[in-house]
Subunit: 196 residues, 2 copies
Amino acid sequence: MTSPLRERRRQETAREIQKATLELAMQKSVEDITTEEIAAAAGVSTRTFFNYYPNKEAAAIGHPPSFSEETKDALRKGTGSLAADIKALLDEHMKILVRDEAIVRGVGNVLRTNEKARGILDGFLVGERRALTEVLCSRVENRQTATALAKNAVDAIGGSIFLWEHTEGMSLHQALDVVWDGLIDASRLLSSSPTE
Amino acid sequence: MTSPLRERRRQETAREIQKATLELAMQKSVEDITTEEIAAAAGVSTRTFFNYYPNKEAAAIGHPPSFSEETKDALRKGTGSLAADIKALLDEHMKILVRDEAIVRGVGNVLRTNEKARGILDGFLVGERRALTEVLCSRVENRQTATALAKNAVDAIGGSIFLWEHTEGMSLHQALDVVWDGLIDASRLLSSSPTE
DNA sequence: TGCAAACTTTGCACACTATGCAAGGATTAC
DNA sequence: GTAATCCTTGCATAGTGTGCAAAGTTTGCA
């Protein structure tokens, strides 16, 4: 369909624009940055900026990595306990995120102050959650259960990033471990006593 | 501080604007509605519209009810199992939401298609989650545990509304019961087998 | 009651956002 | 090498959101 060179250039430019956006967002809030500034910093025209992203908040978020097909497959066909298999998927996904710590930090920074950016990321996460719910449906009988599990898994990633950004000297992987332990502990408390 | 009459009028106008927004959003997407239209439908000038809400998405969301101080207090001093006490708080909160089913439905409708609106609601929910986390810290030792519990509690409300909107003949309370059962089931699965 | 202070609404001007369209430039396929 | 395709860009334009100041309301107090 699209030629490989064009594809590569597109991705490079998209990334360039995201970097320019995040860098500017370190100095002042996204609200106070104009699309002109971003475009200039990324070396393209304002019009071209809008060919890549529908708005500056989307440019800040960029295109976060989805859970890979392999890890989802591993979860689907998993042999261990459900908890262990989900944790394995999250660990794998975290490896991807660790490759771009600067971007993760920049995105987190934007999310803290910008509502529109939060909404955009949320839209992306809804998709991830849905995909994960489908996968989990092959491991549990009840759909609501799968939904709850998927929600917790996706949130664990976000929670880890938040914790990582707010804790000096903690790695993303360590943050995930802490968040995960909290989740397991919470689950133990919620399920320990019968509701009815 | 502010006189009671002025206070009441402000709330009435705010609500009027929200209703006008949600009503228009039934016919076309929020993107395609102009602030002028909303203002005209609500009987105020465009400029006044912006005195009440910073943008049309915020007008659609309005001012959702927070968990009441009484219910939070009940949870803090709760005597039953943690799960039962959290469920009680959610049930109480749902009673408040049921009073304005039309608005809940309208807001849900907007959230489905509008990212900015999602972000705005999310910002509100972050605040609710934080407040609930503080409350739960008096019931559990670990902060991450409290965070996970609060996240699940707040999400249960949102999940219930989603389920309610997509299921013919189900009440909000019933939806909450279904979502809650799914959450408890998921918790059982996550905590049943040791992670390490 | 009547008047001054406080607050609200509104119109207007203006900077910024985002999109359609068409011209021009680069890349691809053959 | 050339035609088709895709990308970038400038320009025009509808819409968003804010500051400011004038006009209108409400409030508190004499």
